[in-house]
C-alpha cells in the first residue's frame, strides 16, 4: 500500500522498456547458470514492504516519500577464506533481483552510462548482472547497498506513479529524465524531498560506474593501459606526459624544485 496506483504497477507486465536478463557471457561459467536457475525459483523479492512515510501529496514538499523495505537478510555463505583464485567462483550466492528490478536497473544503468562513440552502454556490458551479484552478496557492505539500491528502485516507481501514474520504465524518456534530473545532483540546492534519494542514487551511480569501468570496454574508455608485461626497465612517463608535468610545475611555480629524472 504505497499509493493508490501501486496495484497498477504490480499488475503491469507489458513494460515498454526492453527487458534485461542476466547473460552468461560475462564470465562464461556454468556456475552462473546454476546460480540463475536457483534465483528464478526463489520467491520474488518484491519492492513493496511496509508503508512508505509521508507519501501523501502534501507531505512531498517536506521530507519526501521513502519506501521502508522489509528485506530479509541474505544468509547465503560467502566464498570463504581460501577460494580458488585462478578460476574464481561465480557469485557463489544466489542472485536475487526480480526480472522487473533487473530491467529497471538496466534502464537506469544506461541513463547513467549510455553508449557513446565506440563505447557500449552499461547494460550492454552486463553491469546490471554485476550489481545483482553485488546486492545479493552476504557481506555487510553489500547488504547495506542492497537496502540502498532496492529502495532507490522502489522510490523511482513510487515517484513515477505520483507524478505520471505509471511505473518508471513505461514513462517517456523526457518524463524519466525529469525525475532523474531532480535526484542526480547533490548539492546545497537539492530540495529536501529529494535529498535522501539523491544520496541513494549517488551510491547506485558509483556502483554502475565501477562495474562499467571494470570491463575491458570500460578500461579502454578510461584509458587504463596497464596489466601488460613489459620486458626490461619500466619505461615511465611518455614525452607527452612529461610535457604536461612541466606545464603544471610552471603554473604552480614549482619548476625550480623539479625532481631530477633521466
Amino acid at each position: 500500500m504505497r499509493n493508490p496506483d501501486d496495484q497498477g504497477i504490480a499488475a503491469r507486465t507489458d513494460s515498454d522498456a526492453p527487458a534485461y536478463a542476466n547473460k552468461l557471457s560475462r564470465r562464461d561459467s556454468l556456475k552462473l547458470l546454476a546460480a540463475l536457475a536457483a534465483s528464478a525459483m526463489l520467491p520474488a523479492l518484491s519492492a513493496c514492504g511496509s508503508p512508505s512515510t509521508g507519501d501523501a501529496p502534501d507531505g512531498l514538499a517536506d521530507a519526501g516519500h521513502w519506501p521502508e523495505l522489509d528485506l530479509q537478510p541474505v544468509t547465503a555463505s560467502g566464498y570463504g577464506k581460501d577460494p580458488d583464485l585462478i578460476t574464481p567462483p561465480e557469485a557463489p550466492w544466489p542472485l536475487t533481483l526480480t526480472p522487473d528490478q533487473l530491467s529497471l536497473l538496466a534502464l537506469l544503468s544506461d541513463i547513467i552510462v549510455p553508449a557513446e562513440g565506440k563505447s557500449p552502454s552499461a547494460s550492454a556490458v552486463q553491469v546490471p548482472t554485476v550489481i545483482d551479484e553485488w546486492v545479493s552478496a552476504p557481506y555487510p557492505d553489500q547488504q547495506q547497498d542492497r537496502l540502498t539500491v532496492l529502495s532507490a528502485l522502489a522510490w523511482l516507481d513510487d515517484e513515477a506513479a505520483l507524478r505520471f501514474s505509471q511505473p518508471f520504465a513505461t514513462l517517456a524518456t523526457a518524463q524519466q529524465l525529469a525525475i532523474i534530473d531532480d535526484i542526480a545532483y547533490r548539492n546545497d540546492q537539492t530540495p529536501r524531498q529529494f535529498q535522501r534519494m539523491a544520496e541513494a542514487f549517488a551510491r547506485l551511480r558509483n556502483l554502475v560506474l565501477a562495474a562499467y569501468f571494470c570491463t575491458p570496454d570500460g578500461m579502454e574508455d578510461i584509458g587504463y593501459m596497464g596489466n601488460v608485461a613489459i620486458a626490461g626497465d619500466y619505461p615511465g612517463p611518455t614525452p607527452e606526459a612529461y610535457r604536461h608535468l612541466e606545464t603544471v610545475l610552471a603554473d604552480l611555480g614549482l619548476s625550480e624544485f623539479a625532481y631530477p629524472v633521466g
Binding site: 560467502g78 557492505d141 587504463y224 596497464g226 596489466n227 613489459i230 619500466y234 619505461p235
Partner: protein, 559 residues
C-alpha cells in the same frame, strides 16, 4: 622422523623463519620447519593477470578476503577461522595473520628500508624507550648480505635518514611516475626531499628469479619471483640443500623443557588429524611472528617457568609496538585529464618521502620524539569496485568527470615510529581458547601523546604539500580520529625484546633467550624499538645474522 635427523627446529616459514632455515641449511645444519598454515605454491596459485572485473564483487574487500579477492592471503586476514583473539575492555587492536607456507611474505608491501645508528640508539638521545644492544656498523654488512640475497631495488640517496648500501648491492629503482614527480617538487619547496622507495622487488634477474615485468598487483603474489616471498626464494633454496624438511598444517602449541629447564622440543597439533604430536630438537627457533611467538612462550608454563618460558624478566608480551598510521588524500586539479600512459610500475610507490626532521629534533623544535615517512599513492590504476570523486549527474557528462578525475587523486600514507608504553602489551586470555584448546592472546592498547602529536604534525605537513600542489584539503581530522588502530599497520614487534641484560629483556643480541641457551627468537618480537621504517628487512637481517651465529655455536659444540 627417523629418516631425517634434524638439529634445529624452526617454527614459522615467513620472513624470519625462512631466513633462519636458509642460513642454517646453507651451513650444513639439518632443519625441521613447522608451519601452521597450508602448503602454498605461488607458481600455480598466483592470479597474476586476473582483472578485477573477473572476480566476485569486482575484487572488493570483504570479511573473507580483507585486502580484496585476489590478495594472496590464504586462510587468514584480520580473522582466522578457529583461531580467535581477544582485546581487553576499551581496547581496539587488529591482528593480521596469514596461515600459509611463506606467511605474510606472500603479500606484504615489500617496503624494505634500513634502520640506522640514529634509530638504534634513540634512547641515548632522548631517554625514551630502549637502545638496541649493538651498533649500526655491526649490522651494516648483514644488511648488505640480506639486500643482495633478497633483492632490493632502491638508490643510495645520501639522506641522513637512509644509510647507504655497499656498492653493487641495490638493484636499480624504477623511474618515478608523474604524480610522484609533482609531489616531490611540491615537497622540495618545503625543504623536504623525496627519494626512491627501497623495495624487495627485483629489477634485475637474480638466481632462478625473473625481474619485475611492471604489471599485476604484488599483493596477489608474484609467481615469477620478482617480488620477494620466501615461497619463491629462501624456502626452495633451503630445500635444494637437502637439509630442510617442512611440515605444514602443524600448529605449535608449546615449547617443551626438561627438569633442568632447558628446551627439548615442541608440541604441535597436526591440523589435518587434530592430534597432538611431540617432536624433539637440540635447538628451537621461534619465528611464528611477534605475537604468536610470545603466545607460545606464555603458554609454555611449567613449574620452573611459572610465568611462561623465557620470561624471568616478565617482559614476554610487553613492549608491543606497531607503526603509527594515518592517511590524507586530495584531488589535484592540475593532474586532471592528464595524458595517459602505463602507470602500473612495480605496483607500489616509486618515490616516497623519508623522515627529514632529524635536525629539527636535535634543535628541540618538535613536540614529538620520533620520526615518520610518507608512502605516496596516486596513479592510473586498474579500475576496481569503487570510483572516487564527488560525482554529479549522469550520461556522457558524468563519464567525462570520471575520466577527468582518473589518476588525479594523490594519497599520503604516514608511517611513523611508536614508543613502547605500559598500556600496550599482550597476555593470555584466561578463558578463551582456539579450536585446539590453545589459550589465545589478549591485546591491550593505547596510543600515547607521542604518537598523536607525531600524526598531527604529519597531517599538517601532508596538507601543506597538497596545497602547494593546488589541492583543496579542508579541515584536518583530529589526530585521535586520524590515527589507525593498533596492529592495523601490521608491523607488530617488541613482544620478546632483546637487550643487554636478562633483567629487562628476553633475548640477547643474538635472539638467544637469556633463560634457555638453546631457544632462539627470530621474528620481530626481538625489536628493542620500532623505527618508522617498515620492519621486515630488519627481521630478515637479524634472522640471517643470528642464524649464522647459531650455526657457529653448533659447529663449535657450544650448544
Amino acid at each position: 622422523m627417523n629418516d631425517f635427523a634434524h638439529t634445529v627446529l624452526v617454527v614459522g616459514s615467513g620472513a624470519g623463519g625462512a631466513m633462519a632455515a636458509y642460513e642454517l641449511t646453507r651451513q650444513g645444519h639439518k632443519v625441521l620447519l613447522l608451519e601452521a598454515g597450508r602448503h602454498y605454491d605461488p607458481t600455480t596459485e598466483t592470479p597474476m593477470f586476473r582483472p578485477n572485473g573477473d572476480a566476485p564483487l569486482m575484487g572488493a574487500s570483504t570479511p573473507d578476503k580483507d585486502f580484496g579477492f585476489y590478495d594472496s592471503t590464504v586462510g587468514g586476514g584480520w580473522e582466522v577461522p578457529d583461531e580467535p583473539y581477544t582485546t581487553a575492555e576499551g581496547t581496539e587492536f587488529l591482528w593480521w595473520r596469514a596461515r600459509m607456507l611463506g606467511g605474510r611474505t606472500n603479500h606484504w608491501g615489500r617496503y624494505a628500508l634500513r634502520f640506522s645508528e640514529h634509530d638504534f640508539k634513540a634512547k641515548s638521545r632522548d631517554g625514551l624507550g630502549a637502545d638496541w644492544p649493538f651498533e649500526y656498523d655491526e649490522i651494516a654488512p648483514w644488511y648488505d648480505k640480506t639486500e643482495a640475497l633478497v633483492g632490493v631495488c632502491g638508490t643510495n640517496t645520501g639522506l641522513d635518514d637512509m644509510p647507504p648500501s655497499s656498492d653493487g648491492v641495490l638493484q636499480p629503482a624504477p623511474t618515478p611516475r608523474i604524480p610522484e614527480l609533482l609531489i616531490a617538487a611540491a615537497a622540495k619547496k618545503h625543504g623536504i626531499e623525496a627519494a626512491p622507495m627501497h623495495r624487495a622487488i627485483l629489477t634485475r634477474a637474480l638466481d632462478q628469479r625473473a625481474p619485475c615485468f611492471w604489471a599485476t598487483p604484488c599483493g596477489y603474489g608474484c609467481s615469477i619471483g620478482a617480488a620477494f616471498q620466501t615461497t619463491t626464494s629462501l624456502l626452495p633454496m633451503a630445500q635444494a640443500t637437502g637439509h630442510l624438511r617442512v611440515i605444514t598444517d602443524a600448529m605449535v602449541k608449546t615449547v617443551t623443557t626438561d627438569a633442568g629447564g632447558q628446551v627439548t622440543g615442541v608440541t604441535y597439533i597436526d591440523k589435518k588429524s587434530g592430534s597432538e604430536r611431540q617432536v624433539d630438537a637440540k635447538v628451537v627457533v621461534l619465528a611464528a611472528s611477534a605475537c604468536e611467538t610470545a603466545r607460545i612462550l606464555l603458554n609454555s608454563k611449567t613449574e620452573r617457568h611459572p610465568a611462561g618460558l623465557a620470561n624471568s624478566s616478565g617482559q614476554v608480551g610487553r613492549n608491543l609496538m606497531d607503526s603509527t598510521g594515518a592517511g590524507l588524500s586530495a584531488l589535484v586539479p592540475a593532474l586532471m585529464d592528464r595524458p595517459r600512459y602505463n602507470e602500473d610500475g612495480h605496483t607500489a610507490n616509486h618515490l616516497f618521502i623519508p623522515w627529514w626532521g632529524h635536525q629539527a629534533h636535535a634543535d628541540k623544535e618538535l613536540d614529538f620524539p620520533r620520526g615518520y615517512h610518507f608512502e605516496l599513492g596516486g596513479r592510473f590504476a586498474e579500475p576496481g569496485a569503487y570510483v572516487s570523486g564527488d560525482l554529479q549527474g549522469y550520461g556522457t557528462a558524468l563519464k567525462q568527470q570520471v575520466r577527468a578525475h582518473y589518476g588525479a587523486y594523490v594519497h599520503f600514507a604516514l608511517r611513523g615510529e611508536m614508543l613502547p608504553n605500559d598500556d600496550c602489551y599482550m597476555d593470555i586470555d584466561p578463558s578463551v581458547t582456539d579450536k585446539w584448546g590453545i589459550p589465545v592472546p589478549r591485546f591491550h592498547w593505547k596510543w600515547s601523546e607521542h604518537e598523536l602529536k607525531q600524526v598531527e604534525h604529519g597531517l599538517k605537513t601532508a596538507k601543506a604539500i597538497l596545497e602547494t600542489m593546488g589541492a583543496t584539503v579542508g579541515e584536518l581530522p583530529a589526530a585521535e580520529e586520524a590515527i589507525k588502530k593498533g596492529g592495523e599497520i601490521i608491523h607488530e614487534v617488541g613482544t620478546t625484546r632483546m637487550g643487554d641484560s636478562p633483567e629487562d629483556s628476553v633475548t640477547n643480541q643474538w635472539g638467544q633467550t637469556w633463560d634457555c641457551p638453546n631457544l632462539f627468537v627470530m621474528d620481530g618480537g626481538v625489536f628493542a624499538s620500532n623505527p618508522h621504517k617498515n620492519c621486515t628487512l630488519t627481521i630478515m637481517t637479524l634472522a640471517m645474522r643470528n642464524s649464522a651465529w647459531l650455526a657457529d655455536q653448533l659447529k663449535a659444540g657450544a650448544l
